[in-house]
């Protein structure tokens, strides 16, 4: 009897722990599936009856939503790709040289508030005439993605046994070949982790694009925030748009939770 009670208590506490997450996302879904009348009803209407997809249709009817989605895709993929290109070899080099001081520099990048990069970079991009293109946004996103990739890869390469590469070196391979054909294939799980995390934090980033983006170059978080400013109470489309923005990330988390947990516990990484 006592065991049963403690089991029920335990189950309840688990439920209590996960309910804030579930409730917010469900409420988001509920708002996005109801018409405006139900959304502003008090007491609130919880279950949409009948559920309507009008809000989603309205979001997609604005042709700029697709443009902003495309911008977000380009920015996140480019920032992640460049970060991998530069960061994976760097992580390898730092791990091999045991250059802890270099690793420390990466940590400082993690500490710096994102806004503090923006004044000089904003001025520089204006000066270079790059404002109005996606390039400034991609470049600033490197501030987030590059440290994540390097940090994850350092801890991953440090965990790999060095014997295989040494054997390759003794057989006359160059260090680049040893890296490219021995270490990198072994580190594929680490690269996956780095890739997922840097993509998510780039996708979620708001601060850089809100300052640097022009009308045509907004990313999704900025575009969705602008919807709030211009349509005070139109909760349905707003929720639908918000859900569309965060859905890819939530889906990715559900699919790759193991990798995400591994990467986050490795260094407590998080975007700027």
């Amino acid at each position: 009897m006592k065991r049963l009670l403690s089991r029920i208590g335990f189950a309840l506490s688990v439920l209590l722990l996960i309910s804030p997450a579930i409730l917010i996302f469900l409420w988001m879904l509920s708002l996005s599936l109801k018409n405006e009348l139900d959304n502003t009803a008090f007491p609130p209407v919880f279950i949409p009856s009948p559920p309507t997809l009008d809000n989603y249709a309205e979001v997609f009817a604005r042709n700029d939503f697709l443009l902003y989605a495309w911008n977000s895709v380009i920015v996140s993929f480019s920032a992640t790709f460049i970060a991998l290109l530069l960061g994976v070899p760097a992580g390898y080099g730092i791990a091999k040289m045991r250059a802890t001081r270099l690793a420390g520099l990466i940590l400082i990048a993690r500490i710096t508030p994102g806004l503090s990069y923006l004044i000089p970079l904003f001025l520089m991009f204006q000066w270079l005439g790059l404002t109005g293109t996606l390039a400034p946004i991609i470049i600033t996103h490197l501030v987030i993605t590059l440290p994540i990739v390097v940090w994850v890869m350092i801890s991953f390469f440090e965990g790999l046994p060095g014997e295989l590469e040494e054997a390759a070196l003794v057989d006359g391979a160059t260090i680049w070949q040893a890296f490219r054909h021995v270490a990198m294939p072994l580190a594929r799980p680490g690269i996956t982790v780095a890739c997922i995390l840097s993509f998510i934090f780039s996708w979620n980033n708001f601060i850089f694009a809100v300052v640097l983006a022009g009308r045509e170059t907004r990313t999704l978080p900025v575009a969705v925030n602008n919807m709030l400013t211009f349509e005070q109470i139109s909760w349905g489309p707003l929720s639908a748009a918000a859900l569309l923005v965060t859905a890819p990330v939530l889906l990715l988390t559900l699919l790759a939770q193991k990798q995400i947990v591994a990467g986050l516990t490795a260094g407590g990484v998080k975007g700027a």
Partner: protein, 303 residues
Amino acid sequence: MSSATALEQAAATTERRRRNYARHYMWFVVPAAVAVLGTILFPWVFTLYVSAFDWRLGSPREFVGFANYTKLFTDERFGFALLRTLYYTALSVVFPLILGLAAALIFNQKFPLRGLARTIFILPMMATPVAVALVWTMMFHPQLGVLNWLLQQVGIPPSMWVYHADSVIPTLVLVEVWHWTPLVMLLLLGGLAALPIDPYEAAKIDGATPLQVFRYITLPLLAPYLVVALIIRTIDALKAFDTIYVITQGGPGSASETINIYLYLQAFAFYNMGYASAVVVVFFALILTLAALLMWTRERVKP
């Protein structure tokens, strides 16, 4: 040539090669280092430089030395922003740590569907902050929001949430807690998994109560991990921007204007580049000091 000398020679070559390689690994780091120099180091130096100018974008800049900094010390609005930031940070560190510890202890047990429950639990941390902030904004609506309806159901008078100066910061902290408790939980869960088993077995033999085990074994052993979580949480809370900007933009009035918001307004609403740069420098110094202080604590807590 005898085989012995050949072997020796080969060994010497390998050794020499290995030493050379250590230097060659530099080239793996150089491209990334250049990118870091351009996007991270250059901004620091340039900010320091700009902070010595009176520079409103569009008008000529004028060298003023430390004038921006002396102005900061007498700037009341900056002072209040600093206090608000510290208040916000203190709350956003304490609650996630307590809740994250409780969650980690629960997720450290074995129970059915644990993997699924953990995945759901970490979803808030991965969700797009802006998107979620918009939903919170709707929930905080004083007349139509679902939160006041919930309060009504349990007999608590409705709150003004983010629409009143007294409740705005605790309300924003609520969002921050929702977002980042999972990260604390993950860090501590990693710590719990790494704890040695022996002390627990000894305690079991000695007949210690669960509370005693927690107080005298788990908590001291977990201390280093708690400090790491504390450091990360402090830094992130100091840097908080997205949710505050989206939900209140520093309002009502300037009741939720933290340093980050103040900085944003100075730089990108008023275009006071020189003054904003001085704010960045002071803010960054504050973060570095706090981080260093916490790192120092960490060294002392290490077993």
